[in-house]
């Protein structure tokens, strides 16, 4: 499978949010306006790419040779959590502007199941190092795309007359369902 197919598959066809249902919490929580959606999306993409490299090394150089596959979940989540911490500290020191933009989202990323999910999937598919990184990039950008689309629609929806019980999360889920239906159209794309 070529790198391009992996990227396209993670980005559109098997979009992490709309098709695989990973990362729903931030998708619902941080999609109220487009700016924070982009911030959250890019911060997540960044952590995903870094975590892709880290988890690949751990899996193939520590867990597999030592015969400890059962520590996968434990070690991956700890690595992701510490990655997020490192990224936070690094941004704080080097780029205060970026830190102000992304900072509030970073702690939320640890519990984003899209990151742990994609790391485990990468191992299951026995991707090579480069493939894993590209997979992470595609997954992160797919997450960003879904978040942006959702935020754009929700901004417009503020002015719509929605039946009272549906307001808030209810209508957001129905919109997500329609978006997911639209993404179903990518299914035959190769």
């Amino acid at each position: 499978m070529s790198l391009f197919t992996i990227l396209l598959s993670a980005l559109l066809v098997n979009n992490f949010v709309l098709v695989r249902f990973l990362g729903i919490c931030p998708f619902m929580g941080v999609s109220k306006d487009v700016d924070s959606a982009i911030g959250m999306g890019l911060a997540t993409t960044f952590v995903m790419v870094v975590a892709a490299a880290a988890t690949w090394l751990i899996q193939w150089f520590i867990l597999e040779p030592l015969g400890l596959p059962f520590l996968q979940t434990l070690s991956f989540i700890l690595v992701i959590a510490s990655m997020v911490q490192l990224v936070e500290m690094f941004l704080h020191k080097t780029s205060p502007g970026l830190y102000r933009a992304m900072g509030i989202f970073l702690p939320l990323i640890t519990t984003n199941c899209a990151i742990l999910g994609f790391a485990i999937m990468g191992v299951q598919n026995s991707y090579s190092f480069i493939e894993t990184v590209i997979f992470g990039l595609g997954a992160g950008l797919g997450f960003t795309l879904a978040l942006m689309l959702m935020a754009g629609i929700r901004e417009e929806m503020q002015f719509a007359d929605i039946p009272k019980p549906l307001r808030g999360v209810g209508i957001a889920f129905i919109v997500a369902g329609l978006l997911s239906l639209a993404f179903g159209g990518f299914a035959g794309l190769v």
């Binding site: 197919t5 066809v13 434990l74 026995s126």
Partner: protein
């Protein structure tokens, strides 16, 4: 006690206890997990080799181990070709079956292919596991697609667009399944016949 030391000690203890418990649980469950997987595979052999009464497992080393890269090493270990020989009630060899693997759209596609002992023709194909798109890629499980391989031998190209019709909208899944069968067939045949 120094506070930061205490933090490290507490975390280390929790981590060690957790790793200890997990290794015990893993030790007990991994045996059962492997047995289950072997049993599931064996029962699939009965499906792809009609008339089989008992199954024998033959191990063949396909490639030399490359030890420089841990990932390649794992792959090479997996290349130890396991061939399942199907015997009828009288103990005559009916045919053999092998597992083929390839990366599809959503993940690894694993298939079991049954081959006739006398003619080396494919008798049946069964998809063991896949994570292809429902409604499109998962049609590789359908009889219509699987039957396209019946009667093929290692002499045939077994390639999408040549002797195997494509599945429209599921090119990647169909190609991956076809590649898995073609590669697996030549490897299994070489390992099976070569070792006699």
């Amino acid at each position: 006690m120094n506070e930061s030391l205490r933090m490290v000690v507490v975390l280390a203890i929790i981590g060690m206890v957790s790793a200890g418990i997990l290794s015990v649980v893993y030790g007990t469950t991994s045996v059962i997990i492997e047995e289950n997987a072997a049993r599931a595979l064996e029962s699939a052999v009965y499906e792809v080799l009609p008339g089989t009464a008992s199954v024998e497992i033959i191990r063949r080393q396909a490639n030399e181990l490359r030890v420089d890269d841990p990932k390649e090493m794992r792959e090479a270990e997996q290349e130890t070709t396991l061939i399942y020989q199907g015997l009828d009630a009288q103990g005559n060899v009916l045919g053999y079956a092998f597992v083929g693997e390839a990366n599809g759209y959503g993940g690894v596609i694993r298939l079991l292919v049954g081959v006739d002992e006398a003619t080396d023709q494919i008798l049946n194909v069964k998809v063991l596991s896949h994570s292809e798109t429902p409604g499109l890629g998962d049609r590789i499980e359908g009889e219509g697609f699987r039957n396209r391989f019946v009667g093929k031998t290692v002499e045939d190209p077994i390639t999408i667009g040549q002797d195997i019709d494509n599945l429209s909208g599921a090119t990647v899944s169909a190609t991956a399944a076809t590649d898995a069968i073609r590669r697996g067939l030549s490897e299994a045949l070489a390992a099976y016949r070569g070792g006699e």
